[in-house]
């Protein structure tokens, strides 16, 4: 029993290993490898010898652009883990590289594997035994539970709103078409072709924009967990606002305004950050403020990166030192803020520190020097001093996959309209597009269409 579709996934935990593997399994594996892999002379390889490692590079077939150098191995079924034709690409382990590599493979017709699906196939094809199968079920269960927990949270608020609006607009058109097809004798307005074409174009543009941001990662709900800490009124909220470019955190001159923490999802040079603005750390007897500070310490423990803020306009004090001595063993960037004001902080005694931690000076209020901070974050990620979680990369890939499928469907619908094909054909593409988006929002389409038809139109005799 061989499955009809070909699946792919990143087979190693992203960012934590020097080598990363993208694994492809299914009947189209070797075909995909032929399309995306070139040997060291940049020639296409027509014949992959079984179980022989080939050195070469993975390219984007449409543009010829090089993704990364890689080793490629072909394991024809049934002599493979899944008993299907399997291709593995071994490349550098960086999260961005692996994601690009996986995306290239997916664009060639593979489908992103579900949790545990390689092992599931191995089992269903008679490869592994019952005991191992139990383990697979555990994996599927655990991942599914985690996915369910995160399903709605995985999408940032803005994104889920956009997706929902997108889906609703498509569903609306589909329902209009379906109603007119199923009720030709009722007096309902026929779908207006000009408006339909315009809607398709608009939604394609929306998806394009989403895809652009998705490519660079902002679409992630989960990102590199980055915690901004510092004593009160050092400018933490201002820095957050500067980074996200809008007034999100409440900023005043009164120390201790941010009593709870604020989380935002931003994208810095292609790196998704889940950025947390915390309550300032100082001695305080205010109970609520104390609670806030307690939480801040909690955030520090779970952070992937800490931005430790100092105030350049004030001398370094006990509160700063207390935080410094309390820093967990997590990558830290020291951010000297308020360089627009007269500088009073004497950083000479911190020289040793600057050897331990990178230091960057900026003015969050004037938004100067931010580029240097962004560059520093980028360097840390690429040098793999900090790690992105593999799950978040996969989620992102899934989102890109679904959005791309939806976009392809809308384009097909649009082209069919141009070719004067009837609306029942257009409906096939629209339905497929909504289905693809439904994989992100977790909704199915079939029953909903019927429900909506009767909610929207007065039909029937």
């Amino acid at each position: 029993m061989v499955d009809a579709d070909t699946i792919a996934a990143i087979g190693t935990s992203v960012g934590q290993a020097g080598i990363g593997i993208v694994r492809v399994s299914g009947p189209a594996s070797s075909e995909i490898a032929r399309a995306v892999f070139r040997n060291h002379r940049q020639m296409q390889i027509t014949d992959f010898l079984p179980r022989k490692l080939i050195y070469g590079m993975v390219i984007e077939p449409d543009t010829g652009q090089k993704i990364d150098e890689a080793l490629c191995v072909f394991m024809p079924g049934p002599q493979s883990y899944t008993c299907e034709d399997v291709i593995e690409f071994q490349s550098h382990g960086g999260p961005i590289v692996l994601r690009k590599l996986l995306n290239v493979v997916l664009r060639q017709g593979a489908r992103l594997a579900m949790p545990g699906e390689f092992t599931q196939r191995a089992f269903l094809n008679g490869r592994i035994d019952l005991v191992q199968a139990e383990a697979v079920m555990g994996v599927i269960q655990a991942k599914t539970e985690a996915a369910l927990r995160n399903a709605t949270q995985q999408l940032s608020g803005g994104l889920s709103r956009q997706l929902l609006a997108l889906r609703n607009s498509l569903l609306d058109e589909l329902v209009r078409i379906e109603a007119s097809l199923d009720y030709p004798e009722d007096d309902i307005d026929a779908p207006e072709l000009g408006r339909l074409a315009e809607m398709l174009t608009q939604n394609m543009q929306t998806i394009d924009k989403l895809l652009q941001t998705a490519q660079t990662g902002i679409i992630l709900r989960e990102g590199l967990r980055t915690v901004i800490i510092g004593r009160p009124n050092v400018g933490k909220s201002t820095l957050l606002n500067a980074l996200i470019g809008e007034e999100r955190a409440l900023v005043t001159d009164v120390p201790g305004t941010t009593r709870d923490s604020i989380e935002e999802f931003i994208n810095i040079r292609g790196i998704p950050l889940q950025i947390v603005d915390t309550a300032g750390l100082r001695d305080s007897s205010d109970r609520i403020e104390l609670l806030g500070m307690q939480r801040t310490r909690g955030f520090m423990e779970t952070a992937g990166l800490i931005l430790f803020l100092l105030d350049a306009s004030e001398p370094i004090n006990q509160a700063d030192l207390a935080i410094l001595n309390d820093l967990p063993a997590i990558p830290v960037i020291i951010v000297v803020n308020k360089v627009d004001l007269p500088q009073l902080a004497d950083l000479s005694g911190w020289n040793e520190l600057s050897r331990t931690y990178p230091v960057v000076s900026l003015s969050a209020k004037e938004r100067t020097g931010l580029a240097a901070l962004e560059q520093m974050i980028e360097q840390l990620v690429y040098s793999e001093s900090v790690h992105l979680s593999s799950e978040s990369c996969l989620d992102n890939t899934r989102q890109i996959e679904s959005l791309s499928v939806a976009r392809d469907c809308l384009l097909a619908a649009f082209e069919s309209m141009q070719a004067l094909l009837p609306l029942d054909c257009v409906a096939i593409d629209l339905r497929a597009a909504i289905q693809a988006l439904g994989q992100l929002t977790g909704e199915t389409v079939s029953d909903e269409v019927v429900r909506e038809i009767f909610a929207k139109f007065c039909l029937g005799k």
């Binding site: 697979v136 097809l181 409906a427 007065c458």
Partner: protein, 627 residues
């Protein structure tokens, strides 16, 4: 228990489901008894005098291709035929026919009476005879016991039927008939779960009291159509329908009298269909709509009754008359029969498997409105399948099941038994995911052989279909072979057809892909053979929509992977670990036969399916004793 008679198959109810069920069982060689409450009301159309429409017309074609009777009867009884949706794509083209109700009944009665293995009797059934979970026969109100090996329930709206009209209500079936009250109790006692649905019908008015000059005429098509692939009717005199609209006064009258409407006073508990709303529901749910269409349709040539489509109601009789008379053309209308609502018992269809057999019993089948569907066509389709499977059960053969990719009948039955329904279920083209493959024009190509395999379709008919397939294949090959050069003559022809000139030479096959180019238009120019209308139509659909047909075939193939993974009957769904409670519960009730069917159950997620797949494989290995 001593039986006065013994049949292989008994069918309870002689409506649209019962007639098809009885005919199918008898034609498949089973001694069959069809029981009805009233022989004069066989194949009665208690509601609208029409057959077909989108998806419903598809069902009729499919019934016909499988050797059923509805298509032939509808063709003979037709007062008017129209092809709907012609401006839209081929998937949704559909035939609709106005039927002469009395002729339809007569035609269907003739078919029943002419069937060798079939007997028809007028009886009221009050009890069932069981041997454990195996059905053995029925008991009538006079105490007569009749034995059977398989029983098809096709009780329509007659189970504990209750008619509601204004503040009056009484026990009864449609059109003043009896209702089967005791049978409901017998089913509950046996452990069948019943529920209550509601439907309704508008008033019928006297043709002579209608002023047609104030209405828009709705004639039939000039071309003569037939549902049946074997009907030879080439000409038919047609009766028009008439279109008018509700007025402001109509809406005010209804709103003013809502306090007397059983739907809103709580006098009706049953769930009504959304797609067949009564006029009071339409006014309440869509208050902004200033006017609703009203079609006046003839019920037959031998009656003065006209059906007022769009005005289904259970309002009191005085309101019914007043509101009809507020409609242009109906100012003088005389009502011959009042509209009414009817509540009835039906079963939760998830108690059935895909062959329409009850999962917990042996030999008991159900079809039609009793399964929670509505519509003559939906009923007939289920009746045919239930009849076939009752016969196959008697003959100890495996059941006949059509898939969602094969037929609307497959969609209908899978929807009912896999998803269940909370309201009377109506088939719609939007319920079929492979709509472009399930066209009404190719029902014969899809199903004739399937009908032949169970003995319902004659060899002549198979030959006819094969001949059609050969003709299509031959002409397709020709069209692919013949190349057209961009000569002056060709360019002129193309411009005349309203399409653009050729840039390079192409084959005729590709030329036909252009929407403006039909086979008939190029036939003479390129010296192509004369083709029958059906072959031409088939050819053009296949060429013009080739891309989308391919797309849908690919969708079917992707799904086939799941559909072909069967779940052994012995599996205990309660033992599947890791899946959600809702999924486990639903799986235990529905007992899907394939992973594909399981995946369509609401509340069963893709992850649940993954786990189920592994569970099934584990079970299989344990059973085979390998690790």
């Amino acid at each position: 228990m001593s039986f006065s008679a013994q049949y292989e198959v008994i069918v309870l109810g002689a409506g649209h489901a019962g007639c098809e069920a009885a005919l199918a069982a008898a034609r498949m060689g089973c001694s069959t008894l069809l029981i009805t409450l009233n022989i004069d009301n066989i194949a009665l159309m208690p509601c609208n005098p029409s057959v077909g429409g989108p998806a419903k017309g598809h069902l009729v074609r499919e019934i016909d291709a499988l050797g059923g009777q509805m298509g032939v009867a509808a063709d003979l009884a037709s007062l008017q035929m129209r092809m709907l949706n012609t401006a839209k794509g081929p998937a949704v083209h559909a035939l609709r026919s106005q039927a002469d109700k009395l002729v339809y009944q007569k035609v269907m009665q003739q078919a029943l009476y002419n069937e060798t293995n079939l007997e028809v009797r007028q009886l009221l059934v009050e009890g069932l005879v069981w041997e454990g979970f195996v059905i053995k026969g029925i008991i009538t109100e006079t105490g007569e016991c009749i034995g059977c090996e398989a029983l098809v329930l096709a009780t329509g709206t007659y189970l504990r039927g209750r008619i509601i009209l204004g503040d009056k209500s009484y026990v009864g079936g449609p059109s003043g008939q009896r209702s089967a009250v005791e049978l409901s109790r017998a089913l509950i006692e046996a452990g069948v779960q019943l529920r209550r649905f509601k439907t309704g019908t508008p008033a019928r008015i006297d043709r002579r009291s209608v002023d047609f000059s104030k209405m828009k005429i709705q004639p039939g098509d000039d071309a003569t159509h037939n549902f049946s692939f074997i009907s030879a009717i080439t000409q038919r005199e047609q009766q028009p329908c008439w279109l008018t609209y509700t007025s402001e006064t109509t809406h005010r009258l209804i709103r003013d009298n809502l306090y007397r409407a059983p739907l809103y006073t709580g006098n009706i508990e049953g769930t009504g269909p959304r797609y067949c709303p009564s006029i009071e529901v339409k006014i309440v749910n869509f208050p902004d709509k200033e006017s609703h269409q009203v079609f006046i349709e003839p019920e037959g040539l031998s009656t003065n009754e006209m059906y007022v489509q769009g005005m289904s109601t259970s309002l009191p009789t005085d309101v019914q008359l007043a509101m009809l008379r507020s409609i242009p053309g109906l100012e003088q209308a005389r009502i011959m029969r009042y509209g009414y609502a009817i509540e009835y018992d039906c079963i939760d269809p998830t108690q059935l498997d895909l062959s329409l057999a009850f999962k917990r019993f042996r030999g008991l089948y159900a079809a039609g409105q009793v399964n929670g569907s509505s519509g003559y066509e939906e009923a007939a389709a289920q009746g045919l399948i239930a009849g076939i499977n009752a016969a196959l059960h008697v003959q100890e053969k495996s059941p006949f099941i059509l898939s969602r990719a094969e037929a609307y009948i497959g969609v209908l039955i899978d929807d009912l038994v896999t998803k269940g329904t909370n309201e009377p279920y109506r088939i719609m083209t939007s319920r079929a995911e492979y709509r472009l493959l399930l066209r009404h024009d190719n029902a014969d190509l899809r199903l004739t052989k399937r009908g032949f395999s169970i003995g319902l379709v004659s060899p002549e008919r198979v030959a006819r279909t094969e001949h059609k397939i050969e003709a299509i294949e031959a002409i397709t090959e020709t069209l692919k072979r013949v190349f057209v050069a961009p000569t002056a003559e060709v360019q002129q022809l193309l411009l005349a057809l309203g399409t653009t000139e050729l840039k390079t030479g192409i084959c005729l096959y590709d030329l036909l892909k252009r929407p403006a180019v039909s086979y008939a238009a190029i036939q003479a120019t390129f010296d192509l053979p004369e083709l029958s209308v059906e072959v031409q139509a088939q050819l053009e659909v296949m060429i013009k929509y080739e891309g989308y047909i391919k797309k849908q075939i690919e969708q079917v193939q992707r799904a086939a992977n799941f559909e072909s993974k069967l779940i052994p009957q012995e599996i205990e769904f309660n033992d599947v670990s890791g899946i959600s409670n809702e999924a486990r519960q639903k799986l235990s009730i529905i007992k899907p036969v394939s992973i594909g069917q399981a995946s369509r159950i609401s509340g069963v997620s893709p992850a649940d399916i993954s786990l189920l797949l592994i569970f099934v494989e584990q079970w299989r290995r344990r059973k085979n004793g390998d690790a």
